[in-house]
């Protein structure tokens, strides 16, 4: 079991993910430079937080064309598990692996604080360690995390059990309090909060451990 962690110029949570997975849980990880195309031997890929390619044009807009992500799309289509955290969630929407888009927080503030989230795991393989309706605390750290989708699309996602994480107190104006989304098959998860920053008791809670520990199950 090896976890790949994508590294773009401008990623800044890649090492946090490695620490959470390898340091806290003993899951071997391998960094994937953005120009790499070899995903052999990986069982899951994380697209971490940060500011890929400086977030020029739009968050995730340039990253979408990275060679490594062409392989990640194929990997996801084969059923490989993909997790996009924060900037990684923005990248997944730009790639079209998840619907909708992430826009500027409604109050324009960069928000950096612990947030309570309600989990509805549904079919999402990353969240099988959590109970339906369980409340967990993950930190958020974003300026552009306001989820945006058409009303009918949101209803469809909801009906299909893909809105797997909601804010208990919506911090950024996301429609439907959406904090995280899964694809229909459940192998791809994108979320604005940072589960990797909730894995080491030394830095606060450990609610995020079970998300990464799902790889061990």
């Amino acid at each position: 079991m090896t976890l790949g962690v994508v590294v773009f110029p401008g990623s800044n949570c890649d090492r946090d993910v490695r620490w959470a997975a390898e340091g806290c849980l003993g899951i071997p990880t391998r960094f994937l430079w953005h120009e790499e195309r070899d995903l052999s031997g990986l069982e899951a890929v994380v697209i971490p937080g940060g500011f890929s390619y400086g977030d020029y044009l739009r968050c995730g807009a340039i990253a979408r064309f990275a060679p490594v992500l062409q392989e990640v799309v194929a990997f996801a289509e084969r059923g490989g598990r993909v997790l996009g955290i924060c900037n990684g969630f923005q990248v997944l929407t730009e790639l079209g692996l998840l619907p909708g888009a992430l826009t500027r927080n409604h109050n324009l503030h960069f928000l950096c604080e612990p947030t309570d989230l309600v989990v509805q795991p549904g079919r999402c393989s990353w969240l099988q360690g959590y109970g339906a309706g369980e409340v967990v605390t993950f930190p958020i750290a974003h300026g552009e995390g306001r989820y945006q989708a058409q009303a009918e699309q949101l209803r469809e996602l909801d009906d299909n059990g893909q809105v797997v994480l909601r804010y208990r107190r919506n911090p950024n104006g996301s429609v439907g309090d959406v904090a995280g989304l899964s694809n229909a098959a459940g192998n791809v998860l994108g979320l604005m909060p940072h589960p990797e920053r909730a894995c080491d008791a030394a830095t606060g809670g450990i609610d995020g451990q079970r998300l990464l520990a799902s790889l061990l199950g």
Binding site: A61, F65, T93, A101, T103, H106, Q148, Q150, G173
Partner: protein, 127 residues
């Protein structure tokens, strides 16, 4: 406003293409173009704006500042982007097709944004 500028470029433009054209004029071979064939250059401006249904908090903050400046009565202020593009293409139809692809797939995210392509011949394509 679709212009074909060919080899002759404006004064004060120091792009790498300009340097190549100057090299051609000086009798030097152009990179990747040994016959020195002239490829028409098209220019366009792509305007990207948030869809009307999408909240624009930066626009709202700017609107509030307008009132503080003493400019009253600003009832709507939305912030978008203008992207100036110059493109080499064999003909106008190809240029337009390439610019539309660029606008729709890279410059704008159609989930949240609309785009308008301004060409210098006065025609405009809209998505």
């Amino acid at each position: 406003m679709l212009t074909v500028q060919g080899a002759r470029r404006r004064e004060g433009d120091h792009s790498h293409r300009d340097q190549r054209h100057r090299a051609a004029e000086a009798g030097l071979p152009r990179f990747n173009n040994p016959r020195g064939a002239q490829v028409p250059l098209f220019s366009a401006r792509v305007l990207v704006s948030l869809r009307p249904s999408v909240l624009d908090p930066a626009g709202e903050a700017t609107r509030a500042a307008a009132a503080r400046l003493g400019v009253d009565g600003v009832s709507r202020l939305r912030i978008g982007k203008a992207v100036d593009v110059e493109l080499e293409a064999p003909d106008a139809a190809t240029a337009r097709q390439q610019l539309e692809l660029l606008s729709d797939r890279l410059l704008a995210n159609p989930v949240i944004e609309n785009w308008t392509l301004e060409l210098r011949d006065g025609a405009a394509a809209e998505a």
